[in-house]
Symmetry: C2
Subunit: 393 residues, 2 copies
C-alpha cells in the first residue's frame, strides 16, 4: 500500500461543543515516555491524579479515579456496576445525553422512567419530585449540562429527594465540570462522571469519575460475577486503584498523564477562577451573538457557561456557513442533533479556548461569513458587545 504521511492536522480553532483545542501543556505532558504498570512512579501518578480530581469534583470521595474510555464509557461503567436487571431508574431527559442515559440504563436491564422534556428546557423540581414519588427508584440519573441543548439541570433539592426514597444520585458532568459549578459533595451526588475534552481542556478518551461511599457499598453488595461487564466492573477497577493494586486492565498511561495535567492546569488557575473564566467568556460570546442581531437558543437562565445555541437566521444555510468558517478561517462551530438539527448552531467557549482572543476571532469571522452568505448582521456588533462584557468584568 501507499503509506500515508505523518500526522499533520490543519490549524483549527475549535469553538464547537467539544472536543476543543487541547491545552498545549496537556499535549506536552502526554509526550512523556512510559514507565511500567507497577513502577513506583506509575502508582504515585495514579494516586496524585485521584487526589487532583477530588479537588476538581469538589469531593472527599476516596473512590475518585480515571476510567479508560471516553465519557460515555464512564457512564456505562457506573450504570453497569450499580444497576441490576429490573432496577428502577428515573432520568430527566432534556437532550441527547439524557437520551443516552436512558439507553445505557436500558441496556443494563434497568426499568427506566424518563421524564421527557422539550429540548432547551430543564425539569422542574416538582416534575422530578412527582416521578420520584411514583417510581421510588434505585437511582436518579441526570445529565448536568447537556451540550446538545446548551442547558444545565439544577440539582437543588435532588439529594433530599433521593434520601426520601433511598435512591442513589448520578450526575453526568462531562460537559460542565471545570467550567461550571459542580459541587459533588455539597450537592450530595453519589456518582459523577466526566470526560477530558470539554472544560477540562484535554483530548477525548479518558473519563474522570467519582463514587461516594454509598455508591461503593451498592457496588460491593453485588457479587462481582453478576456485573455484566469485565472492562467496566468498578469493583475491580477500585481494587486496581487502591493500595492493593489488583491488576485489571493495563492503565492507559499516556491518557492518565494527560488527565493529570488537565487537573493541574485547572487547580493552578484555581477551580473558582477557572469557572469564573468560563462564565465571563460565555457571557461575552452570548453578548456577541446578540450584538450581531442573532437569537440565542433555549432557556438562557439555565444556559451552561461554556456553550451557547444560536438560531440559524432564516434563509441561511447553516452547514454552508460552518463550512466557510472552517475552510476559510479555520474556525469550527457546532451543528446540532435531533429536533435542533438545521435549526441552531452551537458555539463553545471552554477549556483552553475560553479566552478573549478566541471569542473575538470567532465573532469577527462569524460576522464576515454570515454577511457573505446573505444574512443581515450588525457591523461590528458582535465584537463590540463582547468587548463591553470584558471591559465591565
Amino acid at each position: 500500500m501507499d503509506i500515508p504521511g505523518p500526522i499533520n492536522p490543519p490549524a483549527r480553532l475549535l469553538m464547537g461543543p467539544g472536543p476543543i483545542n487541547v491545552d498545549p501543556r496537556v499535549l506536552r505532558a502526554m509526550a512523556a515516555q512510559l514507565v511500567g504498570q507497577y513502577d513506583p512512579y506509575m502508582t504515585a501518578t495514579m494516586n496524585e491524579t485521584a487526589a487532583l480530581y477530588r479537588e476538581v469534583f469538589a469531593t472527599a470521595n476516596a473512590h475518585t479515579l480515571i476510567v479508560d474510555a471516553t465519557a460515555r464509557g464512564a457512564i456505562e461503567a457506573a450504570f453497569v456496576s450499580l444497576l441490576e436487571p429490573g432496577d428502577r431508574v428515573v432520568v430527566p431527559n432534556f437532550g441527547r445525553f439524557g437520551h443516552l442515559l436512558v439507553e445505557i440504563a436500558q441496556r443494563c436491564g434497568a426499568e427506566v422512567h424518563a421524564i421527557d422534556l422539550e429540548w432547551g428546557t430543564v425539569a422542574t423540581y416538582e416534575q422530578i419530585a412527582d416521578e420520584m414519588a411514583r417510581v421510588q427508584p434505585k437511582m436518579l440519573a441526570s445529565v448536568h449540562g447537556d451540550t446538545s441543548t446548551t442547558i444545565a439541570q439544577p440539582f437543588d433539592g435532588l439529594r433530599e429527594l433521593c434520601d426520601r426514597y433511598g435512591s442513589l444520585l448520578y450526575a453526568d458532568v462531562t460537559a460542565s465540570l471545570g467550567g461550571n459549578v459542580v459541587d459533588t459533595d455539597a450537592w450530595g451526588i453519589d456518582v459523577a462522571t466526566a470526560g477530558l475534552q470539554k472544560c477540562l481542556g484535554g483530548p477525548p478518551g479518558s473519563a474522570p469519575a467519582t463514587f461516594s461511599e454509598r455508591a461503593v457499598a451498592a457496588i460491593d453488595a453485588r457479587r462481582p460475577d453478576l456485573i455484566r461487564s469485565n472492562y467496566f466492573d468498578m469493583a475491580m477497577i477500585f481494587d486496581y486503584w487502591s493500595d492493593r493494586r489488583l491488576n485489571h486492565h493495563t492503565e492507559a498511561t499516556t491518557m492518565l498523564f494527560g488527565a493529570r495535567e488537565c487537573a493541574r492546569v485547572i487547580l493552578e488557575e484555581g477551580l473558582t477562577n477557572c469557572q469564573g473564566r468560563h462564565l465571563l467568556n460565555g457571557r461575552a460570546m452570548l453578548a456577541g451573538i446578540e450584538g450581531l442581531g442573532l437569537i440565542p437558543f433555549g432557556d438562557i437562565e439555565h444556559k451552561m457557561a461554556n456553550v451557547v445555541g444560536v438560531h440559524i437566521p432564516d434563509g441561511v444555510d447553516g452547514d454552508a456557513v460552518r463550512e466557510t468558517l472552517l475552510h476559510d478561517f479555520g474556525v469550527e462551530i457546532g451543528t446540532a442533533f435531533g429536533p435542533l438539527a438545521g435549526r441552531i448552531w452551537r458555539i463553545g467557549t471552554m477549556g483552553y479556548n475560553a479566552r478573549q482572543d478566541a471569542v473575538l476571532i470567532t465573532l469577527a469571522a462569524l460576522e464576515i461569513v454570515l454577511r457573505r452568505h446573505g444574512a443581515r448582521v450588525l457591523t461590528g456588533g458582535g465584537v463590540d458587545a463582547a468587548y463591553e462584557v470584558y471591559a465591565t468584568a
Copy 2:
C-alpha cells in the same frame, strides 16, 4: 492542596511483557493538536488508520478499526456484540488471558467450555477438535500469544474446524500482532483484537480490531437493543467508522493519532521485516538467557518471538532482583502471575525495544544483578551468546 509538579517520569528501559517504551515517533504524532470530530482531516485519518491496520492484520476486512479502550475492552466489544446469553463458546485456556476470555464470555451470559491446560503448554489440534465436536459452539475463541506464559497457540486447522460446526473464530492477538506472524485472512480468523502496547510500540489505551463479513453478519443479525453494551456495541461503532459517520462516542483523537503512527512505523519497516526483527531479538535474548546459565520456561517450540520466561534460580529472590534492576539500572523485567508467580521472570523484546542495544543492556545488567544477589552466572555468557546470534543472523 499542594499541587504536584509536572509529569516527569524516570528513564526506564521497559523489557517486561509490555507495556514497553513507546516509539518516540508515536509520542510525537500524539503531540499533534486536535481537529473536530467531523473535520475532513479527522474522517480521512480514521479511514487511513483502518487501511493501515488492514495491512498489519493481513486482512481485506472492510470492518477494521480502533476500539477506544485498552486491549481488554476490544475483547469485550467483540464478545458482547457477538454473543447472546446461552451461546456456546469453546476457549483453549493456557494462561491468564485465556482465563480472561472465559471470564468475559461468561459475563456476556455465554455457556463457556474451557479446555484447561497447564501453563506453558498449548492445546493440541486434537484437544480442540474433540471439544468442538462435543460442544459445536457459536464461537471458538483463543488467545494467540499469551504473555502470561510466553506461549503462542497454533491456529492451523482451526478454520476448518469452525466451518465444520458453523462456528466463528476469534483470536486475541494483543501480544503477538506485529512481532509474530498473524495472518488473519489466511488463517480464517473472523475477529481479531489487539492493543498498542506490545509489538505495535504504542501506549496502552487503544485497541485495533478487525471483523470478517461473517462476523459482521452475526452482529447485524442481532437487534441492536439486545446488545448489552452501548459503548462496545460494534454495530454502532461500525456505523461510526463507515461513510455514514453515525455519531457514537467521541473518537479518542490523540490515541487514534498514536495508533496510526504505530502502523506507519511497522509498515515503513515492512511487516515481514518487523516480524523478523522480533524473531531475531527474541532469539538473541533466549540465547543470552541460556548463555548466562539460566533456564527458559515452557514449551520453547511454541514460544512467542517477543517474550521469554526465565526460571528464577533457586535461592534467589525474584522480586529483589527485579527491584535492583529497576532501581540501579533503570531496566524493568516482568514478574509472573498465578501458578507462575515467584517461579519465573518474563523478559520482553518487542516493539521499539526489539533492538540489539536493549537486549545487550538487559543481559549485561541481569548478569551483574544476579551475581550481586548471590546467583551463579557465567561471566559474559549472556552478552556473548546474544552477540553470536546477531553475528550469524
